[in-house]
Amino acid sequence: MKNPIGNLNKVFDSRIRMGVMSILLMNAEISFNDLKQLLELTDGNLASHMINLEENGFIKVHKGFIGRKTNTTYSITKAGEKAFKEHIEALEHMIKGMNK
């Protein structure tokens, strides 16, 4: 028997990283400030999670400027989309498995 938990991705265990991925799945590009507002987080807290996701190759960072202020935006990578969708499927399997 296959263990359903095996397909769950450790990276998405954190609610914040899971939230970031959910948002990026729906939006081609989103700024750091919009993410912060949507997830109700502080700068430092969100930044560490974004670095983690970037190091895993799940998101891409674009640094730009609006006037003199930096404007950092993020988008999801193909690998990130695949990994997150598999994670969602694994969650679904867990629920279905329990109802049998």
């Binding site: 938990i5 609610r15 899971m18 939230g19 991925m21 959910s22 948002i23 799945l25 729906m26 939006n27 989103i30 700024s31 919009d34 507002q37 949507l38 997830l39 969602i88 969650l91 679904e92 867990m94 629920i95 498995g97 329990m98 109802n99």
Partner: protein
Amino acid sequence: MPEQSQADQSLEALQDIKRMMERSSRFISLSGLSGIGAGISALVGAYVAYGWIVDYYGSDVKRGAILLRGYTPDGAEELKWKLIGLAVAVLAVALALSMWFTWRKARKSQLPVWDHASRKLLINMLIPLAAGGFFVLGLIDHSDWNYVAPACLIFYGLALVNASKYTLTDIRYLGILEIILGCVNMYYPHWGLRFWALGFGVLHIVYGLIMWWKYERS
């Protein structure tokens, strides 16, 4: 039972994902009362405009001949500017009322009014609306009053259909109704003001009531 709690956790995680996906892509604080407010201001505006038009054209209006005869230079120019001023005022009041009710609803549910989702909603609504605005100004510039009301209805309807991807999907049906009304109005151009009042007044109020009933009642 640990298995049960694992399923619960998964379910919770999925609900979280769904909520974040929705919240980041749709502006859900649009209030039904906004529709009712906009509808009432449209009806009041149409009523005032009707009075002015009847004053100007006399009893002919009863035979539906308002726009058929074209217009005489002096009073017509004045009426034109009065009507344009009225239209701007109605738009301003309607916008102010709908923004206020929506701001109130967002505050109540502790959601931001100006965020990623509302910005996307606004931009996507503004594209057809701006095109429609230029089109209608062009019609007025060419003194082609017959098609002002249908053009308003059709472009507004298209704006709503476009906007429905970024807010509560129900607004799509309102958009489709506005488009149909505008298309029918093309063939009854003398009834422009009545169609306009029906589309911007009555439909808004009915839509607002339904939305309020569906999402905000409690």
